[in-house]
C-alpha cells in the first residue's frame, strides 16, 4: 500500500517536471514546426472517423431519449433545444474525449514508450536535442488545438443526426427542430463545451505522453504504459468534466 502511494507520488512528480519543462521550452517553439504538424495530423486523423460515427449514434439516441423524457409535460417543439444543449455542453466533449483517449492516447503512450525502451529518447538527448521539447510539447499543443475542432465536428454530426431521426420517427420537422435550438441558444452552452474540450485535449495528451515517456524496460513496460494512459486519461477527463461543469454551469 505504502509502496503504491510512493509510486503514485513519484509518477505525479515526474509528470509535473515534464509539464514544467514543456512550458519552459515554449521559447523554442519555432524549432518544433515539423513534429508539431505531424502531431496535429496524428491527433486529428486518427480518431476523425470514429468520432463522427459515434456522434451520429449519440445524436440519434438523444432524440429518442429526450422525446421519452419530455413528452408528458413539454411540447416536442422544444426537443431540438434539449438535444442541442446536452450535446454541446456535455455529450459532444465527453464522448469525443473518451474516444480520443482510447485511440490517440493509447497511440501516444505506445509510440513514446517504444522510443524510450529502444533508447531513441536517449539518442535525441545525446544529440543535444531536448527530448521534452521535441516529443512532449508538440503533443500537448496538438491536443489543445485539435480537440475543440473534433468536438465541433462531433456537435455538428450529433445535432444533424438527431434532427434526421426526429423528422423521420417523431414527426418534428427540421424547421421546428432548429427554431427550437435558435430560440434558447446561449453562447456559453457552446463555448463552455469547447472550453472543456481544450482541457480534455490537454489532459489526454499530458497523461498519455507522461506514461509513454517514463515507460519501463521491455515490451511489457510499453503495454502497461499504454493501458494506464487510456485508463487515467479517461478517468481524469470525467473528473475534469465534473469540476468544469460546476464552474461553468453550477
Amino acid at each position: 500500500m505504502l509502496k503504491y502511494l510512493y509510486l503514485a507520488a513519484r509518477g505525479t512528480g515526474q509528470a509535473f517536471i515534464l509539464l514544467w519543462d514543456s512550458i519552459l521550452s515554449l521559447r523554442e517553439l519555432r524549432k518544433i514546426k515539423r513534429p508539431f504538424v505531424e502531431q496535429l495530423e496524428f491527433f486529428g486523423t486518427r480518431s476523425l472517423f470514429l468520432v463522427a460515427l459515434a456522434s451520429s449514434f449519440v445524436g440519434m439516441v438523444s432524440s429518442v431519449q429526450t422525446a421519452y423524457q419530455i413528452k408528458d409535460y413539454a411540447p416536442l417543439d422544444l426537443l431540438g433545444m434539449g438535444v442541442a444543449k446536452v450535446v454541446m455542453m456535455e455529450l459532444g466533449p465527453v464522448i469525443t474525449a473518451l474516444i480520443v483517449a482510447g485511440r490517440v492516447g493509447a497511440g501516444m503512450a505506445a509510440e513514446l514508450g517504444t522510443m524510450r525502451i529502444t533508447e531513441q529518447i536517449d539518442a535525441l538527448e545525446t544529440l543535444g536535442i531536448d527530448s521534452i521539447r521535441h516529443l512532449i510539447l508538440p503533443r500537448l499543443l496538438a491536443g489543445i488545438i485539435m480537440m475543440p475542432l473534433l468536438v465541433v465536428l462531433a456537435d455538428f454530426v450529433s445535432i444533424m443526426s438527431s434532427a434526421i431521426v426526429s423528422a423521420l420517427y417523431l414527426d418534428i420537422p427540421f424547421s421546428t427542430f432548429f427554431s427550437g435550438i435558435r430560440m434558447y441558444f446561449y453562447p456559453i452552452d457552446l463555448f463552455g463545451g469547447l472550453l472543456k474540450s481544450v482541457a480534455f485535449g490537454f489532459l489526454i495528451a499530458f497523461v498519455s505522453s507522461s506514461f509513454g515517456y517514463y515507460a519501463k524496460e521491455g515490451a511489457k513496460g510499453v503495454g502497461i504504459a499504454t493501458t494506464q494512459a487510456v485508463m487515467y486519461s479517461s478517468l481524469f477527463v470525467l473528473m475534469a468534466d465534473y469540476i468544469l461543469g460546476v464552474i461553468l454551469y453550477g
Partner: protein, 243 residues
Amino acid sequence: MIEVINLKKRFGEKEVLKGVNLTIEDGEDIAILGKSGEGKSVFLKHIIGLLKPDEGSVLVDGIDITKLSKRELYQIRRSFSYVFQGAALFDSLTVFENIALPLRERAFSEREIKDRVKEALSLVDLDGIEELYPAALSGGMKKRVGLARAIVSKPRYLLYDEPTTGLDVITAWRINKLIKKINKMEGTTGILVTHDIRGALYTSDKIALLSDGVIVEIIESSRYKEAKTEKLREFLEAGGFLD
C-alpha cells in the same frame, strides 16, 4: 580530456559502479572490456550525462558535467557522439533524416547536409539506402547507420557501446576497421565498450577491464601480454590471446 573520478551508481539494492577511476587523454583511444551485465553501458552513459552518478564526477575538459544544467549539458554534447548498443535509430525518420539530424541541430546548410550524409553512408558501405526506413534494415545495417549518424558531425569524442556485438564476423571486422580509421583521425578520442577482445586490441591504444564495479587494470594494447591481474589474463585467455 575526460577524467572519471570515483564514480558510483546503484539501482535500488544493486550497486553497479563502485568507484570507477579513469583518465582519457585527448586523441587517445581506449577500449573498456567487461562481461555482460558488469555495467559497461551504465558507465558509458555517465560520460555523456544520460545517467547521473550517486557519487563522484566526470570531468570533460575540466568541467564537471554531473553538475551542469540541461542547457549547458546540451552544449557539451555537441562535441560527442554516442553509438547505441541497439542502434537507436528514429523509426519515424528515413535513413537520410536519421543521419542528417545531428547536422540539422547544428544548423548546417541543406547542401552540406546532403554531402555529409552521403559521405558518412559510403564510409559504412551503405550507399544508396537514404530513403529507406529503419524497419526495412537488417540488424547489422542498423548498427552501421547508427555509426554513420555518430560520425557525420565529426565529433571530438566518440562513445561506442558494443558496435560489433551480434554481427557476423565479416561485418563485425569491417566495423572494427572503420572504428580504427575513425580513431586514427586527428583529434578524435574514442571510448569503445565491448567484450570483443580482438576488436578492442585492434582498434584502441589501451584496454581497460571493468569488473565488479571498478576498473581492475589498464594496459597498452601492444603490451597486453604483460597483463598483471588474474581477471584480465582470464579475459585475454578466453579470447585466445594468452595461453
